[in-house]
Amino acid sequence: MKTPTVNTPTADPAAPNAVVPTGEAASAPAEDASWEELVSAALVGADRRSVPAVRLLEDAAVQVTRARAGRRPHAGRLPGPAAEETRPLASRAAGDRLARMLGGEQARLVPEWLETAATAGVRVPAHLIPGLLDLGARDRSIRPHLGPLAGARGRWLAELNPAWAYVLEEAVLPRAEGETPEAGETWEFGTRGDRRAYFAALRAAAPLRARELLEEGWAKETPEDRAAFVGLLGDGLSMEDEPFLEAALDDRRREVRQAAADLLTRLPESRLAGRMTERAARFLTRNGGKLVAEPPKACDSTMERDGVRPGPPAGMAKRGWWLQQVLARTPLSFWPAHFGLSPEEVIGLKIGDWAREVWMGWTRAVILQRDAAWARVLFEAEPLTDLLSVLPPEEQSARAALLVAREPMDGKMIMTLGGVARPWGTHLARAVLKTIVETSGMRPWDAGELIRLAGERLDPALHAHVERLGVTELAATLRFRHDMLKELS
């Protein structure tokens, strides 16, 4: 309680002595003693102030009750109202389910709920927004969904709570296929998230116009925005973008330079690709049936300009780190032509020293350049999860199914499967269910993690089938998802 104040003497019905005779001193209440005086006398002792202690207590009782009963509304400042929502509310059932999930039931499925609901074009019940924004503060991966799902209310709250300010950066409207939003206002005055969404949509519809728009105001963009917009040029990338990206290699901000270099790597005709090819041909040569790696002795300024980072991660030799980066930025199509061999034959060549760095360079190149042909070749030799991400979803499933059929189900395999997008195809589903049925009988503790992963990734329509197999935990998760998706459709 703030120091009680007697606001107004009109609060008479409340005065306690109207009802309770307050004892000996009631006949002469010391109305003039202020509350502060009473407190100060009580602190040092009524004796010292020559006031009877009982009288002080009675005065205090009158004052404290009068203050409580006489408290009047104060003049406060009304918060401004949140803007109108543009999306419909998720169904009651869907909202209730999300509330239960945020409370801990099947919490691993929250990201799928959010992703599905964001795509379905609904928003979440307002009372769940604070919990979701807290979740997004810890987990970046769900933030893009929170922009549209929390809607105008989410932004209104984010203005009040700095911990949630990130949501102001997210787009409210998810990008719809082939839709070009109204230009002008959004691009000029929109939030960071809305501008990015607008730019991405424009890029998808009219790549050239998007880049020209970006070039017009380039000098005024913040470094973060510059990096983000360069990244968005990946959609619809062509040699038309090359001069702009080549110029961006001289940007002041490292993230911008990196993003530009990453994109140029995907253009085999680019000047950067040419420079990298020239370097790679020097650092990796063929000697009969062997490859000889001779990593650079220094990272010169031209290499650095092309996106090679001079400082290696902890535990890595500098020269190997430079070699790996040069190979990652060299167009993969270069090698078969250069050596006159197929990709299979290239990776079949024996490598002496620096073999690990060469392979890491190629793997990184597959991901940067999204080269599906090389991804398949490398995955056959070493099934790394990251390689799968380059392949179409059905093929991810098919390749993973083959792997499950022939390799033991261990931690490494589960990690690989973790890279296979939802929903798993028929072949993979069948292979994984077979493994689960086999292992859950003999080694139930091993099956646990696989069951959890399968619960998130299998097609939920399989729930009845899985139930018949007797894997009840998995069946329950799939039925949960089945109902969840039905509520959101």
Binding site: R48, R68, R71, G76, P79, L160
Partner: protein, 440 residues
Amino acid sequence: MLALAPDAASQKAAAGAGAPAKWSGTGALPDVVWGECKGSGATPYRACVDLSEPAYKCSCPSRKFPCKHVLGLLLLWATGEVPDGGEPAGWADEWLRQRRERAEKQEEAKATREPRSPNGPADGPGDGPAAGSATSAQRETRVTAGLSELERWLADQIAHGIAGTQQTGLADWAELGRRLVDAQASGVAGAVARLPRLLREEHWPGMLLGEYALIHLLAVAHRRTAELPDPLRDTVRSRVGFPVSRESVLASPRLRDTWDVIGSRDEEQDRLVARRVWLQGRATGRAALVLSFAPIGQVLDASLVTGMTVDAELAFYPGSSPLRALVAETHGTSARTAAAHRACRPPGMRLTRVPALIAGVLAGDPWTDSWPVVIGGVVPARDALLDEEGNGLPLHPEGGVPWRLLAVSGGHPVTVAAEWTPRGLRPLTVWDEEDQAVRL
């Protein structure tokens, strides 16, 4: 670490006081840190922290608690600037010894205390039906003796000053509480047991004086029960701790209405969970509180769920501002159905009418420290509920920012059920855009 700071200014000051150059004679053992900080005066301030609680002591005159020196010392310790080991300085050692002794005494006191009804008014789970007249006469004598001793004790405190309460209060109150329990004045013992949390507050002297005054008022009122009108006498006796049997309550006249369940809260106290459910009558506008108890871990009564409406007869415990009631008989519930859609948001009063309502309640029972209100057309802000004209009633400061409430309203007027307390409102429930009850 800085979360311990009483406010932002203290956090900032602590950062300054955390400069290693200001400190000397620092040391740390596993559960205590101490050191001397050079302040503006000639003698350095001596700060010491008992990490087991944590509890703090500093020789500076600051009224902030913990002060910037203590916070600075903790910052210093957290960044590894305080050397481990060493003997606590004499002054630090003395303080720690006193603290530990007090803590032990308190533990003993706690162990001997019996579980109380958490609501102060009697009829906790331990109270059976009224006992035989011989025992009840004995109880009257005991309570009277206990309360006159309490009156003397309070007068003595005020006569000699309460300035030292932060040092001696905990031990004194533990002892006082034990004697009140022995005297079977469990309601007053409960009021005494709630005193220690006042010491954490910046304005504790005023708050403590207020509580002492109301306890004194209760003791005096009990001494003079013969002069009081019946309902007020019932209130006084119930606040003191005399039990009222369920049978007698159920035998009293009942009030039938359509009751909205406007909020509920579970509180853990001693070894029990107390569930408070607040109701409001559609026709009568009457407020009611239904209490139930269960040992921790056992299932509580779940027949009244926030947001539902129940046609029932309630029997109120006697008193001059009756609130607590028993559900004597139910005639049917209407849970949220499509038909009852609109019916589920209870009617709310205007915010400007709340003070008069509370004044009336306090006029009947000045010891009331909780009363449910349903307010319509309010716009919640970070620390207050406002009506559309900007008249505001403050929220309880310990509740923090009511984010869920803010989220539901979004700056638009809503209907809110809240618990009035002397320090401010505690929001219980809000009805959302679809008139669904959202518990806060």
